[in-house]
Amino acid sequence: MPSVAVHTQRFARLCNATALSMGMPRLRQAYTPHPVVDQSAAHLRAYIDGSDAISGRPFMQEVLDGLTAPLEDADLHGLSFERTTPRFVEPDTEDNLQRRFEENRWTDMLPIVLPTEARVEAMLTGTSHPRDKIVGRLRPTVFREAWEFDVEKVAVNAVMAGARPEYFPVILALASSGITARSSSTTSFATISVINGPIRNELAMNTGIGVMGPYNHANATLGRAYGLLSQNLQGGSVPNETYMGSQGNWYALTAIVPEAEERSPWQPLHVQKGFKPTDSVASVFFGGWYTHAGYGPRATWQEKMRHALAAVEQYSPPLFVMDPIVARGFVELGYDTKEKLIAWCADNALLTAREYWDNQSIQLLRPKAVAGIEPYASRLKAQPDEVIRIYEPSDIHIVIAGGETQGAWKMISGALRATVLIDAWR
């Protein structure tokens, strides 16, 4: 059936690249100015009455021609092609290779460790799996094609990040999660990965002072490796083509949190999720959209938490990272399990229905509400000024980490997307 896709001009390069990757370099598209969001009906009508923001022709002429102008020969065949990525790049000096990797956007714009044959071979000793075993597939967003990769390709990126061979099972587990750490979402989502189990101590990961800062080799390079492998193995993370995050995200540089299980009064995350305490597990959270922080629990902790929970971007639920001091404080208040505190948070994460549904991303859930899917259906039925719960307990997670120099907590946007057994990749 003849069709025309309409986009805003900001996405022109992305649309063309996507159409090409689907074998349709001549896909007919029309472009309005950007943005559409938050514009009045009159403003949008002006877009329709105006010019195509890319071609300069009348917008509706572009649309109508897209549906009626005869096809040309190239339209009838599409474009089939195979893209190959070689095993090695052309040999060169180290300086030139560093420059080439940066120019090709194969780096995170920080210097990398060049993936020589010897270094990659050494990295491969970190797993029992053969180099040609397929690990998984990744893509920057749901409408792009997924690229495939094997153990050796993951090892190449692990080397580039500066990781050591003993870290490799964690990196393979993250790569196998199916969750990219280089999402193309315009909201600039990143991933935050939580590591649980014996592997934390085997790799001498830091769960204490500066756990989320640049103070531990494994913490720093594991997160970096996840980012590098995501962008390179999925076919890129290039602004305007395979990355559209408006502001970007510092969490994308590296964001790994090993839980301080030994100093926590509560069950570790992976045990909450059904794994054995002796299992080593990586949990991937998709978020980093906001960060709140506080002390506590002080006398007014409930007010503080309510304010913070009401101030989140409600599309992305909270992942709490709490110093052990904070966790013990909550135990003294009677919250002797994570589940009890999570239940309190779910009961106290409240907004009016009007505020909830006005959120740009929440509106994407409206079809589920209309279809009767709970809890969205009940939230949609609420009157505009009715106060509603915005999270279920299963949306909220708590992880314990920190050096006990301060009773600090952070509330980081993070929806749990995958929990992967690291031991499967040893």
């Binding site: 309409v6 805003t8 074998g23 559409v36 096809l71 089939s80 893209r83 495939e148 994407l364």
Partner: protein, 96 residues
């Protein structure tokens, strides 16, 4: 002489791209049914309403029908079947 290093290419394996031909175009939209597919992004419904009004004012011989998938970011075979059953063309949009 500066030593040259041999290093691995860090990229994954892209899928083969299979060319797709575009559907045949219509000689005219007069008397045809054009579905306006609201992709459910914020304000796309308002845009489609305005687009439908434009057709009503300028090309009244075109029957336009707004249709929405069940979910954002997910294929909706039922919606596609509905469009294929009695539609002649489609305009899809619009995000952000």
């Amino acid at each position: 002489m500066t030593e040259r290093s041999k290093v691995h290419d860090p990229r994954g394996y892209p899928p083969k791209v299979v060319g797709k031909r575009l559907a045949s175009r219509l000689p005219s939209l007069d008397g045809k049914t054009v579905y306006l597919v609201d992709c459910l992004f914020d304000n796309s419904a308002v845009f489609m309403d305005q687009l439908q009004q434009w057709f009503g004012e300028h090309l009244p011989a075109v029957d336009t029908r707004i249709i929405r998938p069940k979910e954002t970011w997910a294929d909706d075979p039922e919606m596609r079947a509905a469009i294929a059953a009695d539609g002649d063309a489609a305009i899809l949009g619009i995000g952000l």
